[in-house]
Point group: C3
Chain length 155, copies 3
């Protein structure tokens, strides 16, 4: 395992900082996309969110499901299910003294696959675009899991 | 980047430990609030959760959606979408040797905004109470993203 | 707080790496279980996912909710609500120089409780199997919260 006193100069940790931050910023952008579709398509979940919420007919009209909003919500949830575990496992992996080039390609492929996943989900592109990009991110994460558990199990 | 051998005395990391823990404890309290409303309002998702689940009519009666429960679930999901990325990004930020006062105010404003967000969501308070508190937390997190990516990109 | 230069030999951190990785791998397996039920029971959320999506009748037929799929989605969401906070808090806890045996039992009990939780959710087992396993994981996490906030508050 890496000596933490050298972490300031640790290249794997620096790379993880960059890619982990980009991946999480991407997750957070989904909130803005959700708001955009909620407002432009007038589809809300909460009575207090509809325009002029004191008018009873507005609540009836705009408190509704919308295909486009639901799609963004599913893409956002899929990000939470995949990018958050990547971040947590990637952090431990970065601290387990992996080879720099190997680590960099794990991070690069994961982030690229997840950006493509979002594009494929929101466009939407026909399958297997979304399915494959999900699978690539999944395999990358489990490759780090494998390395972490293979190196040494402490039970 | 901070020398990790000094992390024991690192004030930013100590502050992050306090605020990060408070923020996540707040997220976890949402589970208890959900259970409270599920039980008092008798609205369940799983047949095995209803009172006396061997009675067919109980399952029909209590396996239902409830406005209040759904509201707590949305607030909980919003926390996962915002507080978990704050924690991950804040951890990297804490390790990037930021100014102590700047870091403290990032953490303080974020945690205060998210506590207010929950109050605004569950009461519910009229907009823009919830919207603004969400926005403040969002801006704080992206301020840390900006600092992390501006300092040095390792691609 | 632990000296980070010794983290390479830090047993608590090694134990956390093992248990944290196992817990997150378990979360990620839920995606595969969801896909399995979506495909075998033909219940999809997205029109592009149904078999032969160019046939209008397939979209009508297979774009539907399914009890089994919904159950896995709820179990997956419950994992995100509980295992992600455990990981974040557990990471800070591991770095706060806790007693090794105490830490190990926190990690062991949490991971065992959450694996049992998934079994109880997906079977499903009658209550209070799922409720109790959720509660045990919850108490373990708050026990770490308590230790982190009791030791020193940095506000």
């Amino acid at each position: 395992m890496v000596e933490f006193s050298q972490l300031g100069d640790n290249e794997v940790f620096s790379a993880f900082t960059t890619y982990g931050t980009i991946a999480l910023a991407k997750v957070m952008l989904m909130s803005v996309i959700t708001s955009f579709f909620r407002i432009t398509r007038k589809a809300f979940d909460n009575p207090e969110d509809v325009p002029n919420p004191h008018k009873e007919e507005n609540i009836k009209k705009f408190l509704r499901k919308d295909d486009r909003v639901d799609r963004v919500l599913r893409a956002h949830r899929n990000d939470l299910e995949n990018i958050v575990p990547f971040f947590c496992i990637g952090l431990l992996y970065s601290l387990s003294d992996p080879d720099l080039t190997t680590a960099l390609w794990h991070f690069r492929i994961f982030v690229a696959a997840r950006i493509y996943h979002t594009i494929a989900y929101l466009t939407p592109l026909p399958q297997p675009n979304r399915g494959l990009s999900w699978l690539i991110g999944y395999i990358v994460t489990f490759s780090m899991v494998y390395r972490l558990l293979k190196n040494k199990l402490y039970l």
